[in-house]
Structure formats: structure tokens, C-alpha cells
């Protein structure tokens, strides 16, 4: 399994951290750390699938924010939060479909199309809110429950995250539908010559990624009880990095959800750990960057040796 290297690195990090801080291996800390990456993890799932199909999406951060803004505005205008969320997710899906259109029908590159979408979606957030965050304190408790509640001791957010990850991981590994994503990303021409409608596949992965951003945005809204038009700036690099650390190829054709989530966990746990140890802010970036580099280097050698 390709992911063993990453698992070992994460375990090593956990071991080191539990020596360094008595608070690390507590239930509360694990819970807090998981909450910090769970929602972004949903976006990582979408990005990974898109990367496998050979695409990329720079708009994830602003599309996520747009979902919050749309749902928030609708709610403030009297729409019930569930309908509002559904509409917001559909709107994000439509953005993804539009990007898919420009990529597959017009023939532009994902990078440029999603860059334009990133700017436009951010603009829509600003236009919708006048740049001001929306306070959604009045969201009904049963809606807030998605973002803030717990089932037993497990936060709902984490349950949702696990369900999404497990479902997509299974589908990506096993279903014929998602196998076509691999074929398309591995060699688009060969896939077309195998009777796969590659443009449709790329259209769908592009759309799916935005839809998952919409879903994540709605959860963020329930969680923070607000809609921030500037939410998720720079998220794209983090999300792509997580997928790539987890083994996804930027040229398409390979990657796993499981690996990408491990990448997410690695990045997030490093940040949380630096905060837990109260490392000086001026050193944090340097340490974080170095750990990232060290981790991928070690993983690279580990996976080379196993081959």
C-alpha cells in the first residue's frame, strides 16, 4: 500500500508530540484537531478526484465561501436554512458545471478557468454581503446541530467527514463509474479510444468538486454560525498540497482519497501541534515548511524502497 509511508510519518509525529506535550494525546485535543480539518477534508475529497481526472481547481476557497454567503443571505431573507443550504449547494454545483463547460466544450485549461471562477466567486461573495460577514446567530438549533452538535461523544462534523471519505474512497477504488476517472486522467486519448466519454468524465469531476465545496461551505456556516465573504482565501494551495502529499499526481491518473486525507491530517496536525507547543509565530512557518519538506522526502524514500 502506497500510504504506509505517510502513516508511519504521522505515527512518528504523534509519538513525538505525546512526549513533547502531556495534552497532546487527550480526547479533547484529538477532537479539536479533527474538527480543524474535517470540513476542509470534504473539499480535499473533491479535489483529489478532480486531480485524478487530470484537472485542478483553484476556486475551492471562494466557492466554499460563496456557499456560506448564498445560504446565509437566503436564510436572512426568510428561507428556511435547509432549503437555503440546498440552493447554495446547487448554486456551487452550477459553478462547477460552468467551469466544466469551459474546460470541456471551449477547451480552456482548468487552471485558467478555475482561476477566473475563483475571482468571480469571491466577487460574488463581496457583492452579496457588501464585504461584511453575515451574522447567522439566529440559525435554528437543529441546523446548528450539523456543525456544532455531537452524536454521543463524536461531533456530527466528524461523522459527516468520515462518511464522505469512506464512501468516496470505496467508490473510487471499486466502482466502474469512478474507474473511468482514472482512465481519463491516466491517458485521455486512450480512454476515449476505450469508449469512455472523457469530456463527460472531466465535466462531472469538475462539477463534483464544486458541489463538495458547496457542501463544505454549508457545514462551515452551521459550525461558525456566520457567513464570511473572505473565508477560505488561500485554501486551494493547502487542499492541493494535501492531495499531492497523499500521492495524487498533478498530471492525473493516480491518487487515493485515503492518502489525500492522510495528507490533510499531516498538514493539520503539524499546525495544531505548533500551536499546542506555543512555538513562536515567527518560527512556525519555517518549522512547518521544513516538516512538510522532510515528510515528503521521507515518504518518497520509503515508497521507493518498497518498490
Amino acid at each position: 500500500m502506497r500510504e504506509i509511508g505517510l502513516i508511519l510519518i504521522i505515527l512518528a509525529l504523534f509519538a513525538a508530540m505525546s512526549f513533547a506535550s502531556p495534552y497532546f494525546l487527550t480526547w479533547e485535543n484529538m477532537r479539536a484537531m479533527a474538527m480543524a480539518f474535517a470540513v476542509e477534508g470534504i473539499v480535499v475529497v473533491g479535489m483529489t478526484i478532480l486531480l485524478i481526472s487530470g484537472g485542478i481547481d483553484l476556486s475551492v476557497g471562494s466557492v466554499t465561501a460563496l456557499a456560506m454567503v448564498i445560504a446565509g443571505l437566503l436564510f436572512l431573507n426568510g428561507v428556511d436554512p435547509w432549503t437555503a443550504s440546498l440552493i447554495a449547494i446547487l448554486a456551487c454545483t452550477a459553478i462547477g458545471a460552468l467551469m466544466g463547460f469551459f474546460v470541456t466544450k471551449v477547451g480552456l485549461h482548468h487552471f485558467i478557468v478555475s482561476l477566473a471562477a475563483m475571482v468571480i466567486a469571491r466577487g460574488a461573495c463581496l457583492l452579496g454581503t457588501g464585504g461584511r460577514p453575515l451574522g447567522l446567530f439566529t440559525l435554528p438549533p437543529e441546523f446548528k446541530f450539523i456543525g456544532q452538535g455531537s452524536i454521543g461523544v463524536i461531533p456530527v462534523v466528524i461523522v459527516i467527514f468520515v462518511v464522505v471519505v469512506v464512501a468516496f474512497d470505496f467508490m473510487l477504488r471499486r466502482t466502474t463509474m469512478f474507474r473511468k476517472v482514472f482512465y481519463t486522467g491516466s491517458n485521455e486519448k486512450a480512454a476515449a479510444y476505450s469508449g469512455i466519454r472523457t469530456k463527460k468524465v472531466i465535466f462531472l469531476t469538475t462539477t463534483l468538486c464544486s458541489a463538495l465545496c458547496g457542501f463544505a461551505g454549508v457545514i462551515y456556516m452551521a459550525r461558525f454560525g456566520s457567513a464570511q465573504p473572505t473565508f477560505g482565501v488561500g485554501m486551494e494551495l493547502n487542499v492541493i498540497a494535501a492531495a499531492v502529499i497523499g500521492g495524487a499526481s498533478l498530471s492525473g491518473g493516480s491518487g487515493t482519497i485515503f492518502g489525500a486525507i492522510l495528507g490533510t491530517i499531516l498538514l493539520s496536525v503539524v499546525s495544531s501541534s505548533l500551536a499546542l507547543l506555543d512555538v513562536s509565530v515567527y518560527w512556525q512557518d519555517i518549522i512547518r515548511g521544513s516538516i512538510l519538506l522532510a515528510a515528503v522526502t521521507i515518504d518518497h524514500y520509503l515508497s521507493k524502497r518498497r518498490r
Binding site: M33, M35, G135, F137, R223, F224, S271
Partner: protein, 312 residues
């Protein structure tokens, strides 16, 4: 014609960076209200980006239109020295606000006193939790006013309340998810944490979510305000917010710019005639800050304030 009145078509510009930020909205309203009172035109300009080259370009483009004066929020002090001086030589008066370019020839600087805010916050925290305990701060390295709020706070605590211990200091860069993560970790490492000081509202949103989730008893104070933090103040989750008087900042900013452009109405008792500088020199105007609590929170709803007003 009265002295405090504009010629027809006389225009004043307010130029900022990250121009979609809601902070500017009430400032510009104050600017506009002053302008209307004096029969002047106004323009809101700047760059939506956090990019000094773009802000300078937009500033220079403002100059091409020959306004009477510009109320400027310079993203950085020194890069604006040359453009400001060139503007003044070209007959466009410049006043800075919220951030300064002290080595330039700008005639006035209007701001809230970040050090005063920090002192007030420190005193309030000590008043609430006592003078022996633990506190943490979130910060945003690189943004000068946020930096000042944090550093002044810490040094004031160290000097006056040595038994207050700083146990967490994390950079969150106005990102609520980063603030959530950092606060959650700080709370894990410091279950006895008493208070937090946060220099802006975006991070406060994430921090308060983490505090609520951990069911910790932490007193949160922050600067600036958003609708969400306002609700948290009303709900008692956030103790208090300190908000600069943006309206005064804009109003005084306009007045100072207008006066710089109409300096002929003023003949002070000094050497300006021989030295050749603008007689309307006002090194520092403090626009003050408001303290937002559960009681007065309703007055700080920007949405309500902006109803029926034109944002541009």
C-alpha cells in the same frame, strides 16, 4: 462664498487597500457626510488586493484626475513617501488615516490610538479576572495596527501586572478556521487560561467557536467587530469589543484634507510663509474608540446603519 465650502466640482478621494473590507464602509460614510456638509464631491478608490504596487498605481491614477485632496490609507509607510510628495508638489493635498507615512509631507494623520486600545483591554481583563492569571493572544504579523495592538498589550501587561502570564501567542491572519485551530490547541495546553486578546474580529469568530466547544471559561476581548462577534457579545460569549470610531475617522479625515487644500484661509503664527510648507499641519488626530458590550451592541449593527445609505 463661505470659507468652508467647495467650488463646484471640487472632488476629494479616499484611497485604501483591500477596498472591499467592511472597515472602510463607515469611514467613507463619515468622509461623505463631511463632504456633503461642505458641498464637495467624493470618490472611493483603491485596490481590492493586498498589493502595494497596485495601491500605488491606483493612487497615481487618482492623481491624474487632479482631485483637490486625497485621504489615504497607505498600505506601507515608506513606499508612499515619493508618491505622496509628488502628489503634493502637483497640487493634490494628502492626509493619511489608520496607517501613516510619517516621513512624507502629508499634512495630517487621523487614527485611533492602538496603544490606548491595548491599555484599555489590559486594564479591563485585569479588572475581570484579577491581576494573576493566564492569557493568550492571536495575531497577524505584518499588519501594523494589529501588531501594535498586540505588542502594546503584552508590554503593558508585563510592566504593570507581572503575575499575568502570557501562555499562548499564535498567528491566525484573520482566518477563522486557523483561529479555531490555534485556540483549540492553546486551550488544550492551558486548561487554566483566563483571557484572550484578539486584535481583529475575523480571528475572534474562530476563537469563540473553539472556546464554546471546549466549554472553557475564558474571557474574550477583541478589537473591531463583525455581526457574528456582535451576536456573541450579546450572548455573553465575548466579553467586550473595542471598535475605532470609524465615522469620526472619516469625518475628521475629510475636514483635514479639505483644510489642507484650502490652507489660504489660515494664517498661523509661525514660519510657514518663509519655509513654504502647508500651514495646516496636524501631526495626529485621535478619533477615539467605542467600547461594545452586551448593553450597547445593538448600535453597532453595520447592516442597520447602512440601510438607505449609498455605500459608494
Amino acid at each position: 462664498q463661505a470659507g468652508f465650502q467647495c467650488e463646484p466640482g471640487e472632488t476629494y478621494v479616499m484611497n485604501v487597500m483591500v477596498s472591499a473590507h467592511p472597515y472602510w464602509v463607515p469611514v467613507y460614510q463619515g468622509f461623505k457626510q463631511a463632504a456633503e456638509a461642505m458641498g464637495c464631491e467624493t470618490v472611493f478608490s483603491g485596490t481590492p488586493d493586498y498589493d502595494i504596487a497596485k495601491q500605488i498605481a491606483s493612487f497615481e491614477q487618482d492623481l491624474i484626475k487632479k482631485p483637490a485632496g486625497i485621504l489615504l490609507h497607505p498600505m506601507q509607510a515608506d513606499p508612499f513617501i515619493e508618491p505622496i510628495n509628488r502628489a503634493i508638489e502637483g497640487g493634490v493635498e494628502i492626509v493619511t488615516f489608520a496607517a501613516d507615512s510619517p516621513n512624507s509631507n502629508r499634512t495630517a494623520y487621523v487614527t485611533s490610538d492602538n496603544v490606548a486600545e491595548a491599555k484599555f483591554a489590559a486594564e479591563e481583563i485585569v479588572k475581570q479576572v484579577g491581576d494573576a492569571g493566564q492569557y493568550a493572544v492571536l495575531e497577524n504579523p505584518g499588519q501594523s495596527n494589529h501588531d501594535l495592538r498586540v505588542t502594546a498589550f503584552i508590554s503593558y501587561m508585563e510592566e504593570n501586572y507581572p503575575n499575568m502570564e502570557l501562555v499562548g501567542r499564535q498567528a491566525t491572519n484573520q482566518d477563522s478556521n486557523a483561529a479555531y485551530r490555534a485556540t483549540a490547541s492553546i486551550l488544550q495546553a492551558n486548561p487554566e487560561l483566563d483571557a484572550m486578546w484578539i486584535p481583529e474580529a475575523g480571528s475572534a469568530e474562530g476563537a469563540v467557536a473553539a472556546v464554546l466547544e471546549a466549554k472553557a471559561d475564558v474571557l474574550i476581548m477583541h478589537a473591531d467587530v463583525t455581526p457574528t462577534t456582535l451576536e456573541h457579545i450579546k450572548a455573553g460569549n465575548i466579553h467586550m469589543a473595542l471598535n475605532p470610531n470609524q465615522g469620526i475617522q472619516g469625518f475628521m479625515g475629510f475636514v483635514a484634507t479639505f483644510m489642507a487644500a484650502h490652507s489660504d484661509m489660515f494664517d498661523p503664527f509661525n514660519d510657514y510663509k518663509v519655509s513654504g510648507y502647508n500651514p495646516m499641519q496636524i501631526p495626529f488626530v485621535d478619533n477615539g474608540f467605542a467600547v461594545i458590550t452586551k448593553e450597547n451592541a445593538d448600535s453597532f449593527d453595520l447592516g442597520v446603519y447602512m440601510e438607505g445609505r449609498d455605500p459608494t
